[in-house]
């Protein structure tokens, strides 16, 4: 049955050079990829050759006749106002009767500098500008089209994109954010047009797939991936090639490949960015993986919260199908592959393999005991390989350039690169791809630019709700599956949230426990009840003395005494990864920041001023001039007072958001 979700309209047609090409999606061409690269192959014709070259150059925009304007319209770009920027660009071009090609690209990774706009003038290198809000569009384009480059907006020129380099202008790859990175998975993100399969092909895409299908056995492909040392990027870090081998060696009439794009970790968004910015890289990786394990049907399990990624993926599948790169008889090799998009319905536990399988089968996403592992008995009882987006996005390059190339980068046990989503209180947020073995300090301070506002670094949270917080003293830990475990954290899917001195570690632990106890599927009692109890203990720690009644003070201490034992029980007796790692945020903060717990427990003091109940805002009457600024800005109208006379805060209405403290110019707001 045709899944209505995967059907998309407006797909491109099969690329035929002339009447002599008789291929179509139904009769796919064996040499399509090579033909588009250096064709035509089946007949000699200078016109056709010229047409194909022109087609390739047009896809890469090598010699554009008119200026090309690129706008980064990934979800993060749109959040920063890229849609308005795009409208302003169109309006300006229309108004000034200027011709230009507009290309919507994904995210180059520098989220905090969005909206990003690139301009490639004919014959010149592509220039990247930052923070191009709608108001900036007009002056920017006017200056540019007059032949000047507005330096204050320039991020850099892109090496190798467009024509002749601009003299005296900095290069983008020398920018402190990009210089320490090794961009393999993200190579095309924000650079290439994600909606154009032609551009992906022109940049060497689907070459690895063609080579694999034409001359390599599934065993050889699996062997190459195994030799490369690629490990699962979704959290566990299992060897990808070995997983494939298990599935391949299990006899079955049908096998399945599932791409896990249900990026549930709060604080992680690299899968979204890869799919939005370079969907064909994922599809190529999936096709190779499916061939290697002998699957003819693959699923992409993607979050429904990612509408743009779903749209891009759907269009990419339709385009690949039209080119005969997916579907029946791929590249005339007899290999069939159907890719179906399944939208997740919002359950964190579905990141766990067996829970994900249940969800695709239309059941409650609850894990089951393993073994049997999904590679032996998975979806619909058939051998199933589940790989993360980033894992699959690495596959094509490994097959294209070889296992040695891939394993030459990284540490002894962790090879290749890892993409991190850098966020939190840091100067430059965004997507970062670094070689395995890079110290965390480099990511936070060199790439991220450190903490803004002169505040002190406190911790970096890695691995989402299953991971831990790493303090300053352990920042030289290398990014590597094993090293991170020694400091009580884990690689996870790659969310890196930086926290400064204004973050309370007890509150962070409470935040994660609150998340986990809500997302616990409820199957194992230690996880379901234990995480809730851990949350209650943390809530008791952060409660004000005045609100305790009866024996609550005593119970508060009792809870603290049992906290670690409870954590151990949850770790030891839960079925799946969610439960086994659920206490990690508490244990890691307890290990590295015991003094903060002590202050909360004994002194009822939150040094960061976060725990609202332990914090009271008041206005010092002697300092307040009654300017009314805090009164006007208070979101809950908790501040009262007549103009030009001292104001006061009504404690019952105050939500302790700190706005008054931030806006007061006279330092009259006191936090205690």
């Amino acid at each position: 049955m045709l899944d209505p979700v995967s059907a998309a309209a407006g797909a491109p047609a099969f690329p035929r050079c002339c009447e002599r090409c008789f291929h179509s999606p139904e009769t796919p061409c064996r040499d399509l990829v090579a033909c588009l690269e250096a064709g035509p192959l089946c007949h000699e014709d200078a016109t056709c050759a010229a047409a194909l070259t022109a087609r390739r150059e047009a896809a890469l925009r090598l010699r554009p006749a008119r200026p090309v304007i690129y706008v980064g319209t990934g979800t993060c770009g749109l959040g920063a106002g890229a849609a308005k920027t795009l409208r302003a660009v169109r309006a300006w071009l229309h108004e000034h009767a200027r011709e230009a090609e507009i290309v919507e690209v994904g995210c180059i990774g520098l989220c905090s500098f969005e909206p990003l706009l690139d301009v490639q003038l004919p014959g010149r290198a592509r220039l990247c500008f930052h923070r191009v809000t709608e108001q900036v569009v007009e002056p920017l384009l006017e200056t540019l089209f007059a032949g000047e480059v507005p330096r204050e907006l320039l991020l850099g020129q892109m090496r190798g994109e467009g024509g002749e380099a601009w003299p005296g202008l900095p290069c983008l790859d020398e920018h402190p954010f990009f210089a320490p990175q090794t961009r393999w998975v993200l190579a095309h993100c924000g650079v290439a047009d994600p909606t154009s399969i032609e551009e992906y092909l022109a940049r060497g895409g689907y070459r690895a797939l063609a080579r694999v299908l034409h001359g390599r056995t599934p065993e050889e492909v699996t062997g190459t991936v195994e030799a490369s040392g690629l490990r699962g990027r979704g959290g566990g870090g299992f060897l990808t090639g070995r997983k494939w081998r298990f599935a391949l060696e299990t006899a079955a009439d049908q096998r399945y490949l599932v791409c896990n794009a249900d990026e549930g970790d709060p604080g992680a968004f690299m899968d979204r960015a890869v799919i939005e910015g370079d969907p064909h890289r994922l599809l190529e990786g999936m096709a190779i993986a499916a061939y290697a394990i002998g699957a003819s049907k693959a699923y992409v399990y993607i979050r429904a919260e990612y509408p743009l990624a779903i749209q891009r993926l759907r269009n990419a599948i339709a385009a690949a199908r039209a080119y005969g790169l997916l579907g029946r008889n791929v590249l005339d090799t007899g290999f069939n592959l159907e890719i179906v998009i399944k939208m997740g319905a919002g359950a964190f536990v579905c990141g766990e393999e067996t829970a994900l399988i249940h969800s695709i089968e239309g059941r409650r996403g609850m894990p089951r005991p393993r073994p049997p592992f999904p590679a032996a008995r998975g979806l619909f009882g058939k051998p199933t390989v589940i790989n993360n987006v980033e894992t699959l996005a690495n596959v094509a390059a490994i097959l294209d350039r070889g296992a040695e190339w891939f394993s030459s980068l990284g540490t002894a046990t962790s090879k290749g690169t890892k993409v991190f989503a850098l966020s939190g209180t840091i100067a430059r947020t965004g997507l970062v791809e670094v070689a395995m073995g890079t110290p965390l300090r480099d990511i936070v301070f060199a790439i991220g630019g450190g903490i803004p506002g002169g505040r002190a670094f406190k911790a970096v949270q890695i691995g989402g709700p299953s991971g831990g917080c790493i303090p300053e003293s352990r920042l030289d830990t290398l990014v590597d599956y094993e090293s991170l475990k020694t400091v009580g954290a884990m690689m996870g899917s790659g969310g890196l949230v930086v926290m400064d001195e204004r973050t309370c570690m007890v509150d962070v632990a409470k935040f994660f426990m609150d998340f986990i106890q809500r997302e616990s599927c409820g199957k194992c009692i230690p996880c379901r009840e234990g995480t809730r109890h851990m949350l209650e203990i943390l809530q008791a720690i952060t409660r004000a003395r005045g609100r305790e009644k009866g024996k609550e003070t005593l119970e508060r201490f009792q809870g603290v005494v049992h906290l670690q034992r409870l954590a151990k029980v949850i770790q030891d007796t839960s079925l799946c990864g969610l439960g086994q790692t659920a206490p990690n945020p508490v244990l890691a903060t307890l290990r590295w920041f015991p003094e903060e717990y002590e202050e909360h427990i004994f002194d009822r003091n939150c040094r960061a001023g976060v725990c609202a109940e332990l914090r009271h805002y008041s206005i010092v009457a002697e300092k307040c001039k009654g300017c009314g600024l805090c009164l006007k800005r208070c979101p809950t109208a908790a501040i009262m007072g007549a103009p030009r006379s001292p104001h006061y805060i009504v404690p019952d209405l105050c939500i302790a958001c700190g706005t008054c403290l931030d806006v007061c110019k006279l330092d009259a707001v006191l936090v205690a």
């Binding site: 992680a268 919260e305 939208m343 919002g346 359950a347 969800s359 089968e361 239309g362 947020t429 706005t659």
Partner: protein, 164 residues
């Protein structure tokens, strides 16, 4: 929900028509389709889907209540989604959520009495670089502060008055 308008039944039948011969593994996509069209999962839809897939309504409720996406109450015309991801939390999304609740006088999961706004808390929108983030009917607002909430909501109220 007291009564379901007569046309709802017909609409659900129309939605189920392309799913002829569907099996259990299509249940979640069907529920997503219905919610997309109706804004929530009406009781009648659950029963009809059950008949269509030959599953008891209890099983369907079991699945629908497991996932965060599904709602059983109609949402407001403007759905305010507040991201409570880690990055947003570190940057103060708790205070933003509190300010929104205070402004609309409802709690997450509820709809205002005039049916204009509803608040939903989502685990992560995936725009962590721009934290704290809220999204109203798909439109993103980045770097939201507690005192900036009122202006954003007022913008939608004005839009509503203008279109009325």
């Amino acid at each position: 929900m007291s009564t379901v308008p007569a046309e709802t039944g017909a609409r659900i039948d129309a939605l189920l028509a392309p799913w002829k011969g569907a099996r259990r593994d299509s249940l979640i996509p069907i529920l997503q389709d219905v919610q997309e069209a109706c804004g929530f999962l009406p009781k009648e839809a659950i029963v009809k889907i059950g008949r269509h897939l030959d599953l008891p309504a209890s099983k369907i409720y079991g699945v629908a209540t497991f996932y965060n996406q599904f709602r059983f109450q109609p949402p407001g015309r403007y759905q305010v989604m507040v991201c409570r991801g880690t990055a947003c939390h570190v940057k103060g999304s708790a205070a933003v959520l509190e300010a929104i609740c205070h402004d609309l006088k409802i709690r997450p999961g509820q709809t205002t009495r005039d049916g204009l706004f509803s608040i939903e808390v989502v685990a992560c929108i995936g725009a962590c670089g721009l934290a704290p983030v809220i999204s109203i009917n798909g439109e993103f607002f980045a770097g939201v502060t507690p005192d900036g909430v009122a202006a954003i909501l007022d913008g939608f109220r004005r839009k509503e008055v203008a279109s009325a």
